[in-house]
């Protein structure tokens, strides 16, 4: 593909002219884009992919940021050793912050914001907990969690908000079980995590109070596990000694936050898509395709160049921000023919909805199981499920760095 060749070799198919360098006149656009709809990727992404080089934008704070949209360029960014995940670097694009999401302060143990080799110590300590075999063994427990949510919904009547009653509680309950939160505390845990992600329903103060409650709870949990132990991640991490006591709460908060709203949003959007395409209900391949199709974490893999690097023939200077748009990459026609079609029979495997490189989602195999169980149980137990939307339609959430739904009203 021409855009990965050195720019000096790119030849125009029409005139035969050879394009010279690269850091002249890139397209400059506003960012982040606002185009909520289903599926989410705004039409501009297709234009950006078709252009040579990269697209330049400025965050509201004036920082220069390069937008990367082609699949292979996104992978190139996410594996380039001259490009960093560390938000402490000047120039790091804190996209969330500029659109009103409070800054995730640099907590010790927050390894998604660290680079190799520092990052790898945390990652290596955690991967035994998330192997394909390990998460498959969790399936019966996940099924019980999902069933219990459905029992409660069915007992309460014939309508529900699937975001509040189903998609948000499930990942929170699953992760709290993994961390060894005692069953009696899981509701508290769930209620606090819910406040944390509800930008509309709760004020900044309420959300930061919820974050403090959780941190306090997590610290107490660490103390309890230190004394009594248990069959859980916290106990095993403490036993290995690979993660220091001062880092443990940051690691656990990361597990909690990284895996909560991401999973909830994806399941909620997946349910909508399956209701619109009922021929795919019950087909396991829908899991992978809903991940690609919805790409909820479009603005999650944020980076900054720490050396001068070249991506797609475009020179990026040290200190400039980079946003690999995974939703754009997941609609790259070079890999996914007719990307706007929801088609679980395609091979969606190469998608970058979980990122790429050393930070590729640690929880991805857990998510796959959660999604498979959630879709299957929901449609099995409520076969006549249908949307129950207000006149103005779906209430799409795009006020954080994640794409999702505020509510998903249904009836049966």
């Amino acid at each position: 593909m021409t855009h990965t060749e050195p720019a000096t070799q790119a030849t125009c198919p029409v005139t035969g002219a050879t394009a010279a360098a690269t850091d002249t006149d890139p397209l400059v656009v506003d960012f982040p884009l606002r185009a909520p709809g289903i599926p989410f990727p705004p039409p501009e992404y297709a234009d950006y992919r078709d252009r040579k080089g990269l697209v330049l934008s400025h965050l509201p704070d004036g920082k220069r940021v390069w937008l990367v949209t082609r699949h292979e360029d996104v992978r190139a960014v996410l594996t380039n050793p001259g490009i960093s995940s560390n938000p402490e670097h000047a120039g790091f694009p804190n996209v969330g912050e500029t659109i009103g999401v409070p800054k995730q302060s640099q907590v010790p143990g927050w390894f998604v914001g660290m680079d190799s080799p520092e990052h790898d110590r945390f990652r290596k300590a955690l991967i035994p907990e998330f192997t394909v075999r390990r998460v498959r063994a969790m399936k019966p427990a996940i099924e019980r969690t999902v069933d219990a949510q459905l029992d409660a919904m069915l007992a309460a009547g014939n309508t529900a908000d699937l975001v509040a009653d189903f998609t948000l509680p499930i990942p929170s309950l699953v992760i709290s079980a993994l961390l060894g939160v005692p069953p009696a505390d899981r509701e508290f845990f769930e209620s606090r995590t819910r406040v944390l992600v509800s930008f509309r329903a709760f004020s900044d103060e309420e959300r930061s109070a919820a974050a403090k409650d959780l941190l306090r709870y997590i610290n107490r949990l660490i103390d309890i596990k230190q004394k009594w132990g248990g069959d859980d991640i916290v106990t095993r991490l403490l036993a290995t000694g690979a993660i220091g006591a001062h880092e443990m709460s940051g690691v656990l908060m990361l597990l909690l936050i990284a895996g909560h709203e991401t999973t909830a949003n994806n399941i909620a959007l997946g349910i909508v898509t399956l209701l619109k395409n009922p021929q795919w209900i019950g087909d396991e391949r829908a899991v992978e395709e809903t991940l690609r199709f919805h790409s909820v974490a479009d603005l999650v893999s944020l980076r900054v160049a720490v050396e001068d690097v070249e991506i797609a023939g475009q020179r990026i200077k040290a200190g400039e921000g980079i946003v690999p748009l995974v939703a754009a990459a997941n609609y790259d026609e070079n890999l996914f023919a007719c990307p706007h079609a929801f088609d679980p029979s395609r091979s969606a495997r190469g998608h970058v909805a979980f990122g790429y490189g050393v930070h590729q989602c640690l929880g991805q195999n857990l998510v796959r199981v959660e999604m498979e169980v959630a879709y299957r149980k929901l449609f099995e137990r409520i076969p006549n499920l249908r949307l129950d939307l207000p006149d103005d339609g779906l209430n799409i959430k795009y006020d954080g760095v994640l794409y999702g739904l505020h509510e998903l009203p249904v009836r049966w």
Binding site: K124, T131, R349, G350
Partner: protein
């Protein structure tokens, strides 16, 4: 075809095990191990796994 894996690079994402379970496994530490060299019917799966590995820990030597 021959496969080599670099366990130092592996980040335990499990793409290999998902896509070519006859060839790859994750050990106790979640790190990739090679179960067997791919048979003729598994070469496509091996290539897929190599292409999807996010840390480029898998090298497929053709021929």
């Amino acid at each position: 075809m021959r496969i080599t894996v670099d366990s130092d690079r592996c980040v335990g994402a499990g793409q290999c095990v998902l896509n070519a379970p006859a060839i790859f496994d994750q050990d106790e530490d979640g790190i990739v191990t090679l179960l067997a060299e791919p048979g003729a019917d598994q070469e496509a799966a091996a290539r897929l796994a190599g292409g999807l590995c996010p840390s480029r820990a898998i090298t497929v030597h053709e021929g």
